[in-house]
Symmetry: C2
Subunit: 116 residues, 2 copies
Amino acid sequence: MSNQEQTGCCPPLAREPLSPVQAAELSKVFKALGDPVRLRLASLIASHEGGEACVCDLTDAFDLSGPTISHHLKVLREAGLITGERRGTWVYYRIRPDALRRLSAVLVLDDAGVSA
Amino acid sequence: MSNQEQTGCCPPLAREPLSPVQAAELSKVFKALGDPVRLRLASLIASHEGGEACVCDLTDAFDLSGPTISHHLKVLREAGLITGERRGTWVYYRIRPDALRRLSAVLVLDDAGVSA
DNA sequence: GTGCTGGATCGACGTCTGTCAAGGTAGATG
DNA sequence: CATCTACCTTGACAGACGTCGATCCAGCAC
């Protein structure tokens, strides 16, 4: 769906004020992580052996219906945080390391006035 | 209100699966940043000269009513991302650098299986 | 082909959330 | 005291969001 190369986005939060457009872009990604289920999904995928996890494994980790898990995975995918690939019967999801790194970089406090 | 020393929380996302409790804690903070207005507020505060910004400055940066800005500042405060202090007539907000650092650390991909 | 299983999509439902207008509180000034 | 300014709180409302059951599609086995 073309959420691939979004966000060459955004200097560190504390370096200069985000423009409205940058903030709109970035906030989508934070919002995607702003749900406990999606955070756990991201963590399960990122920390899973081999760097990828099958939906069947993920579903078992929650007391939620299949459609709900599917929905959350879609949100994470559209935020550019994960990718999904079908291999035979199963669908495997992987973290997009570049996305995490970008987010992490935005939160960094290199030097700025802030240093407590 | 006691949102001070929350979150000694949480190893990196990719190191091990977050527990439900950890995910619930952390997701609150991400959710607070998951709104374009709040992200810009945080950025304005963090990047403001002197490390603090007065509400009056913040309000001027948006086409939003005072109560709405107040509401967003409260959400950021309750997420532990900023602190507010009244000095005379004005209220000044500051970023909590420790909160940003913690978030940044959670997103880091030290070594794990993931390394693309 | 039929049937089965893993996932995704589609509606629909209840709740949460961003927004504002109106009213309230704290500090400064006269 | 009264009054003005800066900011917060309350209450209400529309739109967004998380969840589910029902349905649909893709791949495998027979």
